[in-house]
């Protein structure tokens, strides 16, 4: 297996026990792969299950059927069946997930947030610090903000901290869920550069970008998820 990420006939539905056990199907028959150097962008209208696919790949959502294989060195780990510790290990070494929301840790400075993510991703303290400063500078976050906790930042500033945090370590598989949603064109271009650099280094990306400019800048392939629409079933 050379693909970094492989969906094999994956299906997902939600069972809402609090609403009489209705089953809401999300996707079915999903098969796709992300190779090194490839940026696969998920397309389709909202509600089609794009974010759900990313969350399933990250182990955040369960699956009803199929397998999601993530390459970890020479081995492939099935996220669907892996025990929690194996999923956590994948997240530490292999998978980076960047959403448009920064889960704010109270009272920790922006620089420390990014640096900590680097150390968790296996960088030394010095390397993490240096890279964190470099990334925040490239993302045009004013230096006076670095030592402040991001809780009080604007949406765009928070998002740039979040991107720096997601990209600082050298994880080979990036799951990007609209990371640039509230960025201005200049910073979006920076993110596009950063993603292309990751691709050049052999990383693979599975992403959602509503903004067509951004999508065109990074996508090597677009997969329309409406093809995975499941047959509606009732409970």
């Amino acid at each position: 297996m050379t693909a970094l990420l492989t969906f094999q006939d994956v299906a997902k539905s939600f069972t809402l026990h609090l609403r009489g056990g209705i089953v809401l199907p999300v996707v079915g028959g999903v098969s796709l792969a992300v190779e090194p150097g490839e940026c696969v962008v998920l397309g389709g209208p909202s509600g089609a299950g794009k974010s759900s696919l990313l969350k399933m790949a990250y182990g955040n959502y369960r699956c009803d059927a199929g397998a999601i294989l993530v390459r970890d060195g020479g081995a492939a780990v099935d996220v669907v069946r892996a025990d929690p510790r194996a999923v956590l290990a994948l997240r530490a070494r292999v998978i980076a997930y960047v959403s448009q929301f920064l889960r704010v840790i109270p009272r920790v400075s922006a620089l420390d947030v990014v640096e900590a993510a680097g150390r968790e991703g296996g960088l030394s303290e010095e390397a993490a610090r240096a890279r964190a400063k470099h990334l925040l500078a490239r993302l045009n976050l004013p230096e006076r903000l670095w030592d402040l906790p991001p809780a009080t930042f604007s949406g765009g500033e928070q998002q740039r901290v979040n991107i720096a945090r997601g990209l600082i370590a050298d994880r080979p598989l990036l799951l990007l869920d609209e990371p640039t949603a509230s960025l201005d064109p200049r910073n979006r271009a920076v993110v596009a550069d950063l993603v292309r650099e990751k691709l050049k280094a052999g990383a693979g990306v599975l992403g959602i970008f509503h903004d067509s400019e951004m999508r065109d800048a990074v996508a090597t392939r677009v997969v329309d998820v409406t093809q995975f629409a499941p047959q509606a079933r009732a409970a």
Binding site: F14, L18, K55, G59, N60, Y61, L88, I105, P106, R107
Partner: protein
């Protein structure tokens, strides 16, 4: 993967005809935070007492990998060995600080007690370590000689943490450590627990009814209801995509978890 630090197998405890814990299996290892969530009466506090060896189970056992590497059943340890384990290699942060601290003894004395219990007999070193730990839990050095009866709720909990961590334990049990605190005080305490447990590579088992606390602190979660673990797994998976009807009810009952 190496053997877990602590594991429970089929832990069962009944009070009369009521099962407080029924066939509980769980484990935790270094660097890992396990949250046990559930409503009051779900058996989570009984479970914590069973894990801590404070209560004897009706059946089942708790096993622990000792410092020298051998895994042993708690029930096979003598009272002296068990207590020595508790005050050196384990910590227990209580919901009610009055149960976890000596309220009439100074903050420094509270932190130093476990060191003295391990045979440290040098006042200067004890005080040095106490001051160091007060600093790490963000209590000013100037308060070292004040008793916790003069401390706020948040400070008392931080002092409990310092008192427990001073001997470098590998396992820390926490029983609702943040309940009854103001939200801002809670956030500070949660951040501290998270930072210290990651820095020190602690195994932590935290009992809480607060799903936000579980989400912020834990890697894995076990949901208890009526004495049983009904759902367990990755914390964010269980909270974002709960499988069991009861877990869905719990998650949906929270304003913002």
């Amino acid at each position: 993967m190496s053997a877990p630090l602590l594991s429970a197998h089929g832990l069962t405890k009944a009070y009369g005809s009521r099962l407080a814990c029924a066939g509980i299996d769980l484990d935790v290892t270094e660097g890992e935070v396990l949250a046990i969530v559930g409503e009051s009466g779900s058996g989570k506090s009984t479970l914590l007492s069973l894990l801590a060896g404070e209560l004897a189970p009706d059946s089942g056992e708790v096993r622990y990998r000792m410092r020298e590497g051998r895994t042993r059943a708690l029930a096979d340890l003598g009272a002296a060995e068990l207590r020595r384990l508790m005050r050196t290699d384990w910590g227990f942060v209580r919901q009610d600080a009055r149960q976890g601290l000596r309220m009439a003894v100074s903050a420094g004395g509270n932190v130093g007690e476990r060191l003295m219990g391990m045979g440290e007999r040098h006042y200067g070193r004890i005080r040095g370590q106490a001051l160091d730990w007060l600093g790490r839990v963000e209590i000013e050095a100037g308060r070292v000689d004040d008793p916790p009866s003069q401390f706020s709720g948040g400070m008392r909990q931080r002092l409990q943490i310092a008192r427990n961590l001073v001997t470098g334990p590998r396992l820390v049990l926490m029983d609702e450590p943040t309940s009854g605190l103001d939200v801002s005080v809670q956030a500070r305490l949660l951040d501290l627990i998270r930072r210290l447990s990651a820095e020190l590579g602690l195994a932590v088992i935290i009992v809480t009814h607060d799903l936000a606390v579980a989400r912020l602190l834990s890697h894995r979660i076990a949901v208890m209801r009526a004495g049983r673990v009904i759902e367990t797994g990755l914390t964010d998976r269980v909270l974002d995509d709960p499988e069991h009807a009861y877990t869905q009810l719990l998650v949906s009952s929270v304003l913002a978890a």
